[in-house]
Symmetry: C2
Subunit: 336 residues, 2 copies
């Protein structure tokens, strides 16, 4: 019998934690024991995994003693505080927060893109930002084929990327707006119902932190600081799945036909690109799927070596939980 | 007493027609008589203008005999059929449809940008596409200051741009989706509630027609085919106001500070750009306003001569009805 792992989920009651549980079960990840960790407030909650009910425990520094693998999505400050303890306990941690992403000693990994980097880990492997993951899964085959000079990207990000409370808040705001009642903002900085908006916080250069993550993470994952990345990240009133309008300036010309062919042959990518048949990826269709969907691939009408494309993926799955589980599967040589 | 005009509205019962009526009234346009024209189906409907009730009449080729100014927004095929008759009747027509926009004999006009072109009209002046208008009002001052090589734009367009029926359809779809009922599509090609999507039809090169309008109209209005324009036009579940993520590559470097200063001094533009104070234009705030709002002005982190900006305007007002009325006001020297 192949090896099984003692798995702990940090942030087990959150939107990503819930997706982690679903994905571990769907993929039949070899779990010998499962520890669901969360804040004191959430301790005692019941979650189901396979045919069992698991009681959520409070996360403490003693939580890692009988654990092999930690999947963390409880927020950056929690990861910063607790993952060093997990490392001391010889756990491998896959961290879904931004806490260690830019740490030079921590690999930042998308399995289809740079799995080689994962093997140099020192106990922690960082999962990139959701917007970065889907963009780079779609762009890596193009980068390998013809090189990339510059990326201009505008995102259409779903509210679930900001956590489960934001899903409920969009429902509440929408209901209020349709009924002519005042719209309340608790988690969003602005009305999100029937609006598009920006996330806080902003960086010093007037980009949002989310935008600068896309710049820095692209450089780190591709190991190429020469790629220009110009992002605008926008939140839209969609529950699940992020969409991205990506303009890419390649080093050598790549036709739309060739780009489609290259992407069709690429791992983790589904090309859905027959506009005459109304086939292009849309958030509501892609939600719940595991792949990165690419459509609207067309040659840039403004420059010689340019392509436009539309990239959609489920931000909680490929953008977060699934990518983390895939890293663990490959690192531990778990057959899929 | 200054001159008054006999005005006819074609498409008086539509979303743009309704905005036209509001704007004529708000701006106290010198109307001596008002004819509301629509299809046979809508004839007999009652609309109010100032303190009067006006009965909608069926549009026929005899509708223009006692008319000076036609404001047309009944669809491209209706404009193609009827505006030549208006010309024969010596009317001036401002056409909000795409029917004559690319006709070399028809000026395509944004008053703040190229009012000079309007004076060469031969009876018809075309109003540009809503997405083009707000983009070029924001970019003209930058074009004049430092030149523009290339524009990469992704839009976040409200459903009212597709007509009044789409506003109702978004309400219905949203209610269905929140109640777990099947979502019906009659006017949209796909689910629009909690989704982002593309408009039909597509052009031969896999761009949408809306995208290619932004390319061709930019060239015509700026009288400069050398500007590269690479658009992705996207419909979002917002009722009113279009937002645009614009990346512009200028001929000479322009700092964000200088761009803000230039735009602040520009006609028709409101700069709303203090992200630290949560000040940037958002669709729900801009809806109902007359200006083009520009925010998130920041230097491109990927190239030397680049700027990113976020441009929002009410698509039914500045993007359609207001722009048409402004053209008429200036052409007829109506004091404002």
């Amino acid at each position: 019998m192949s090896r099984e792992y003692r798995v702990a989920l940090m942030g087990a009651t959150g939107a990503v934690g819930t997706a982690m549980l679903e994905i571990l079960e769907e993929r039949n990840f070899p779990v010998s024991s499962l520890k669901l960790l969360a804040s004191h407030r959430s301790a005692g909650a019941l979650k189901s995994f396979k045919d069992e009910t698991v009681v959520v425990e409070e996360l403490t520094h003693d939580s890692f003693e009988d654990v092999d693998l930690v999947l963390a999505s409880a927020g950056g400050s929690i990861s910063k505080e607790f993952l060093p303890t997990a490392v001391k306990n010889n756990c491998i941690s896959i961290d879904n927060t931004s806490a260690f992403r830019m740490d030079p000693d921590t690999p930042l990994v998308i399995p289809e893109v740079n799995m080689h980097a994962a093997h140099d880990h020192q106990g922690i492997i960082a999962n990139p930002n959701c917007s970065t993951i889907q963009m780079l899964v779609a762009l890596k085959p193009i980068y390998d084929a013809v090189g990339i000079n510059r990326i201009v990207v505008s995102t259409y990000q779903s509210v679930s990327g900001k956590g489960g409370a934001c899903i409920n808040e969009l429902v509440d705001q929408t209901t209020s707006a349709l009924n002519g009642r005042p719209v309340k903002c608790e988690n969003f900085p602005h009305q999100m119902a029937f609006n598009v908006s920006f996330d806080w916080p902003f960086a010093d250069n007037d980009y949002t932190e989310e935008e600068m993550k896309m710049v820095h993470e692209t450089h780190k994952i591709f190991e190429d600081d020469s790629i220009g990345v110009s992002p605008t990240t926008v939140r839209v009133p969609v529950f699940y799945a992020h969409s991205e309008s990506i303009n890419v300036e390649t080093r050598e010309k790549l036709s739309a036909v060739d780009a489609r062919e290259i992407l069709q042959a690429s791992e983790g990518v589904v090309v859905m690109d027959q506009p005459a048949e109304r086939q292009y990826p849309l958030a509501t269709d892609v939600a719940g799927s595991d792949s990165v969907f690419v459509g609207r691939i067309r040659e840039d009408v403004s420059i010689e070596n340019g392509l436009n494309m539309w990239v959609v993926a489920d931000n909680l799955r490929k953008g977060a939980a699934l990518n983390a589980v895939q890293i663990a599967e490959r690192l531990l040589n778990i057959p899929k």
